[in-house]
């Protein structure tokens, strides 16, 4: 709950800046949720980025092609593959890399490995030029015979086909409400700014009179506020459930789906209400509109969230509801 609230406040300021802050990334969440005592001692306190996505594998993260092979002689894992969209990949101390121990087995064989940023086998290809969150660097890496020690594997080294993806996916149950909180922060910034601009233009929302008896801009602003408020309460609800040890997988996905989509609509809607003042670079509305879009994509797109929610509500497996 405290994290959700502080992220919302930070992102009211700037999402890109929050993402560039050391030691708060997905990599650190992964280490915190599955690392052993020794690994925590060794890697705790370091800044860790997360490398999952590949050119040919996005939301379908079980299909990753990066491989990890144990070299019995040296007791090292050898990683080979290509990773993209690594937030803070350039500046982090560590990169948590997802790789498959056996591509024939599927998701159960996927493990995460901690790779020191200084490892010569991990080569920085490029930094992406993006629509938004440009304050945050997004790296692409090539892994070429990248050797890591055996204890760099996070969690259980055995391939347990029953437990499957659970371990690696667990990270996301915790982080979805946090991404929702980012969107909610940007959304609030947009609404605050637009409210101010509209007030100057002589339009204010009256919460007593019905929407349709008011200026269309006021009605729109009220509708956006309603969606925003709902998204915020849903993120708080998901976080509150986690704090109280209640299973919150559905609520976590719901909060991210709701916040991602409505805050993007809000940011773009605010640009329209503010006119060229919103579209131009004088105000920040255009920037927030560009920044916010990533929040409906990373750590599970809108469509993936809907899929997760549907499977749980309908009681369907991923084989049944593809």
């Amino acid at each position: 709950m405290a994290t959700v609230l502080s992220i919302e406040e930070m992102c009211w300021g700037d999402v890109g800046l929050l993402l560039t802050m050391p030691r708060q990334g997905l990599g650190n969440s992964a280490i915190a949720s599955v690392a052993t005592e020794e690994q925590l001692k060794k890697y705790g306190g370091k800044w860790a980025a997360m490398a999952i996505t590949e050119p040919e594998s996005g939301s379908d993260s079980a299909s990753i092609r990066t491989t990890a092979v144990l070299d019995e002689k040296t007791g090292e894992y050898v990683l080979n593959g290509e990773k993209i969209y690594v937030t803070s990949g350039e500046r982090a101390d560590l990169v948590v890399v997802w790789a498959s121990l056996d591509r024939d087995i599927g998701r159960a064989a996927i493990k995460s490995f901690i790779v020191e940023r200084s490892n010569p086998g991990m080569k920085l290809d490029r930094l992406e030029h993006k629509l938004g969150i440009r304050a945050s660097d997004t790296a692409a890496f090539r892994l070429e015979d990248c050797r890591v020690p055996k204890d760099a594997l996070l969690g259980n080294p055995e391939i347990d086909t029953k437990a499957g993806f659970g371990g690696v996916m667990k990270t996301f149950d915790n982080t979805r409400p946090l991404v929702a909180a980012m969107a909610i922060g940007v959304g609030r910034a947009c609404l605050d700014e637009t409210r101010k601009l509209l007030k100057k233009a002589g339009v204010e929302v009256d919460h007593v009179a019905p929407a349709y008896t008011q200026h269309a801009a006021a009605a729109r602003l009220q509708q956006m506020e309603a969606d925003w408020e709902a998204a915020r309460l849903m993120a708080l609800h998901a976080a509150w459930m986690a704090d109280n040890k209640q299973p919150n997988s559905v609520q976590a996905s719901m909060s991210k789906a709701k916040a991602g989509r409505v805050c993007t609509e809000i940011a773009l809607g605010c640009v329209e209400l503010a006119g060229t003042l919103g579209y131009g670079e004088v105000e920040l509305l255009e920037k927030w509109s560009r920044d916010v879009k990533i929040l409906d994509i990373f750590e599970g797109t809108q469509q993936i969230q809907l899929l997760i929610i549907a499977r749980q509500l309908l009681g369907k497996s991923s084989a049944e509801l593809k």
């Binding site: 008896t213 506020e225 309603a226 309460l233 719901m254 809907l306 499977r311 509500l313 593809k322």
Partner: protein, 438 residues
């Protein structure tokens, strides 16, 4: 008896009532009774207000009785307390076993079975707003409790929920804003057996209705007032014995007035609508209706009037949330069993994603509604929260009604399934003002 004992008493009473009654049998019997199709043509159906009882004060109060405020929770917490949980459980059971099975018939005949109304009254759900000293059963004023009850009832059926809850708006208003004399005169009747039907009449029949700009007028006349105007979508209008009517007070703004149905110049006529049919909506027509000074509720204070509007909006949101949840609960087994192209239709993303969206928006509606109600209970401003909840519940509620019909396809369009009723009933949330209070 402590406060807790007392409100626990209500929950226990509700449990006992349900357990001891042969309600289901009685409702089942009713099903077999053939009834002439009710043709709700409005023309020529105008009648004088219900004959009604004589409201008289039995005891004189020094000052108005008020329910205690609930203890505010400082932190985010959506767990209902023990009493609320019990009340909700009982109401849910009542909604599932007594309301839902008769909902289609009640809608068809535009009438809620009398036995059902009596049972609901026995549960005590209509007098949550009556102070203990005047025969009430709950010591604390809690909009959240009212929301939970309304939500649970609407899970059974919105139209019947309105029929049951609408009379409660009047004692709730009296409990919140009535003076000692008004309370002494009108409240006792609501705690007796055979409590009167009553209604809070705000909305008027015109486009872009704004509750702050009323066509209905109240002119000062000696010490009293003369009322003129037309009120729309008044639940159970023909049976109501007491109305609270919103009228523009001599150019000084809108205010609330107590009007007894038997007063000269009070007329009602049926006003059937696309939904809420079990609530037998009607128009209330006021023609030179003379009421005494005592009729003015809350001293004509604009803040009281606005609070009434906000509380009413929250109540409609609670109904929308209950019906949206009911739709989701109905749709999940349907799309999982209905097969097309050799597999359940729920295996298609286009179907599954609609279910996800209904789940998301139902949660959104619920949380906004709870927040508005909880701010009301904490004594904080809640106009914004109530307005936001109304916006979301009106938009998403309507969409959920429409999607329910869509997901059932042709089955959704016929009356064997409740989806078409949700389609009609959920449209009311964006239209209605008044009628219910939390």
């Amino acid at each position: 008896m402590t406060t807790a004992d007392k409100s626990m008493g209500l929950a226990l009473r509700a449990v006992r009532t349900l357990a001891e009654s042969d309600l289901l049998d009685r409702v089942g019997l009713r099903k077999q009774v053939e009834k002439a199709l009710y043709n709700g043509t409005r023309d020529g159906f105008r009648v004088a207000g219900a004959a009604g009882r004589t409201f008289a004060a039995a005891q004189k109060l020094g000052r108005p009785a008020r329910q205690k405020k609930t203890k505010p929770r400082e932190l985010f917490d959506v767990t209902p307390d023990e009493d609320q949980q019990m009340l909700v459980e009982v109401t849910k059971q009542f909604a599932a076993e007594a309301v839902r099975p008769v909902a289609q018939e009640a809608d068809h005949h535009s009438e809620t079975p009398k036995e059902l109304l009596e049972q609901a009254a026995e549960l005590g759900v209509t007098i949550l707003g009556v102070p203990e000293s005047l025969g009430g059963v709950v010591a604390e004023r809690s909009a959240v409790t009212s929301v939970l009850i309304a939500e649970a009832l609407a899970h059974g059926d919105i139209g019947i929920a309105v029929s049951i809850l609408a009379p409660g708006a009047v004692p709730t208003a009296l409990g919140l804003w009535g003076d000692a004399e008004q309370q002494a005169k009108y409240l006792p009747a609501f705690t007796e057996d055979n409590a009167p039907a009553a209604a809070l009449a705000i909305v008027e029949p015109r486009p872009l209705f704004n509750p702050l700009k009323l066509d209905t007028t109240a002119k000062k006349d000696g010490t009293g007032f003369v009322l003129n105007g037309v009120k729309s979508m008044v639940p159970r209008a023909k049976d109501d014995e007491l109305f609270i009517v919103a009228a523009e007070l001599d150019g000084s703004g809108p205010a609330l007035f107590l009007v007894e149905s038997k007063t000269e110049g009070v007329f009602t006529e049926p006003e059937p609508a696309m939904g809420l049919r079990a609530a037998e909506t009607g128009r209330l027509i006021l023609e030179n209706v003379k009421v005494p000074a005592l009729a003015l509720l809350g001293g004509g204070d604009l803040a009281v009037y606005e609070e009434c509007i906000h509380r009413s909006r929250i109540a409609w949101c609670a109904l929308a949330t209950g019906a949206a949840q009911a739709a989701l609960d109905y749709l999940i087994p349907y799309v999982n069993t209905r097969e097309a192209f050799g597999e359940p239709i729920s295996h298609r993303q286009s179907v599954a994603f609609m279910i996800s969206d209904i789940g998301i928006e139902t949660d959104a509606m619920r949380l906004l509604t709870y927040r508005a109600a909880s701010r009301a209970d904490m004594g904080r401003t809640f106009a914004r929260e109530a307005a936001l909840a109304r916006r979301l519940c009106a938009d998403k509620g309507m969409k959920i009604g429409s999607d329910s019909v869509q997901l059932l396809g042709g089955h959704g369009y016929i009356k064997e399934h409740p989806a078409e009723r949700w389609y009609r009933d959920l449209r009311a949330v964006g239209v209605m003002e008044g009628a219910l209070l939390v």
